[in-house]
């Protein structure tokens, strides 16, 4: 594990890592039918100050009476005082969260897990590939790269969604379409009349790019079926196995390596991941 890929662990101030801290919902944005973007602000100023994270890390959102759910952070670490969570209404906790209104309070624990090796990526080209909700953790990385754009070479973003209505963060991507310092490639499986982007699987976009394998880091996040195919394309471009990073979704319950639910191969997704290098993932039996 490189030094840049480590992160210090943060504890709640009273030493109980299971205890959620109240955070206020400061904004809610409807992204699609199923996904909303929540902006949260931890109420206790000391806890808020201590909340420093890396792109790729996650939090446990707690709604008392319902439970906790792991949600990856979508905003950049450079955005201080607030965090953004892109949440799909898919279960009890996320369903209850979707019913919350601006100004309501929820519980928050984190930041948790190991994020992307941002420091190691500096000075290199970056190729980011997202499928569906996988854009949520990658958006944190994208925004962080944006904030320190001069530290990076070529930045390519590939993002595939099922159809145009499921494209997340469209407002931001629309804004970036004409920027020449981001090569933004959106694709949908099924298009509609209004769609003027690519149609087809995200892997098809690889035909359109050149990769300098010695100086490129990859970051991949999407549904489990996607990894194998995206990695195959990256390997075709001769990218190194230890320069491709991927974020795994598993059943992270405690988020701190105790409860055992998120076991993947011989590791726990919550503390050893959720971001793993492809080399690490290859060594995790049953991971891909």
């Amino acid at each position: 594990m490189s030094a840049a890929h480590t992160q210090e662990r943060q504890m709640s101030s009273d030493g109980n890592p299971y205890r959620p801290w109240p955070a206020r919902i400061t904004s809610i944005l409807d992204l699609t039918e199923k996904e909303k973007l929540f902006e949260l602000r931890i109420i206790d100023p000391e806890i808020r100050e201590a909340f420093q994270f890396h792109a790729g890390q996650f939090v446990e959102v707690s709604i008392f009476g319902v439970g906790e759910a792991p949600i990856s952070i979508s905003s950049a670490p450079s955005k201080q005082g607030f965090i953004e969570l892109c949440v799909r209404n898919a279960g009890d906790v996320t369903g209850a969260l979707h019913k919350k209104r601006c100004g309501d309070v929820v519980g928050l624990r984190g930041p948790l897990g190991r994020g992307f090796p941002f420091e190691a990526m500096k000075g290199n080209d970056v190729l980011l590939v997202a499928g569906g909700l996988g854009i949520a953790p990658l958006k944190s990385l994208i925004n962080h790269i944006h904030d320190e754009r001069h530290e990076f070479g070529k930045v390519t973003i590939m993002y595939g969604a099922r159809n145009p209505s499921e494209v997340l963060f469209r407002y931001q991507f629309d804004m970036w379409r004409h920027r020449d310092d981001f090569n933004l490639m959106l694709t949908v499986d099924e298009s509609d009349d209004a769609w003027d982007g690519e149609v087809g699987l995200v892997t098809k976009l690889f035909e359109k790019i050149d990769v300098d394998p010695d100086n490129t880091y990859g970051a991949v996040c999407g549904p489990p079926v996607m990894y194998e195919f995206v990695i195959a394309e990256m390997r075709k471009k001769n990218m190194d196995v230890d320069k491709i990073y991927m974020s795994f979704e598993r059943r992270m319950k405690c988020g701190i390596g105790k409860c055992g639910h998120c076991g993947v191969g011989h590791q726990y997704a919550c503390i050893d991941g959720p971001v793993f290098s492809y080399w690490e993932a290859m060594n995790l039996q049953g991971a891909i």
């Binding site: 009476g65 319902v66 279960g91 009890d92 369903g95 209850a96």
Partner: protein, 247 residues
Amino acid sequence: MAPRVVIVGLASDFGCQVQMTNIEDDLLDVLGLIDLQYWQLASSGHMPEEYDIAIVEGAVTTQEHVELLKRLRKTAAVVMTIGSCADTGGILALANCVDPDVAYAAVYGKGPEVARGRRAPGPVDAVIHVDYRVPGCPIDTDEFINVLSRALQGLADRTPVDPLCAICKTKENVCFLDRGEVCLGLVTRTGCGAKCPTLNRPCTGCRGLAPDANLEAARAAFVSKGLDPTELERRFDLYNAAREVTR
């Protein structure tokens, strides 16, 4: 506004409705959460036309029950079953093990024509979709409150799918199989806290077959413990004879 609730009994001994009165200390709290419009056990009036949650006890044994359930399903946003009879057909479903001609002749001295509209006893979910269930004979009041609370919050049904052995182990019970006694815990749906084994009674399967049960492995386990493997299903029929009907 509190959700309007009706509590309806099909064929049963009303034991689970009685059990609901045993909530005692917490009964007023529970009643405070809902607008109880009809409780068959305690009401003499009629069922209202509109309601949000239908709680159903008892097995389906007549065509009339079928009609009632269809009406409940159409009206209520949430249907919740309580007790083995509603959940698996319960003890009533044992009737399925006997030829109806023989059974009726034995009881009434006549054939099945004495009970028109009768159908083979079965569970509620053989007729309509069930959203939440509280299995067991009788129901556990804590589990009932918890399931009702989940229903009120609109949370997903979390009826356990695993067998009983794990919780029984946490109670430090000596395994009945090891004592050469038939126990059905290894295939029965957990969630009861292994009450019976803890009171030194083997599990009789009142909570139904655990969806993740491995029956073949259970038969093999019976054999290895020197027990007759056919006893597993024979005993399981006590509360689960209708599973043949619903398959």
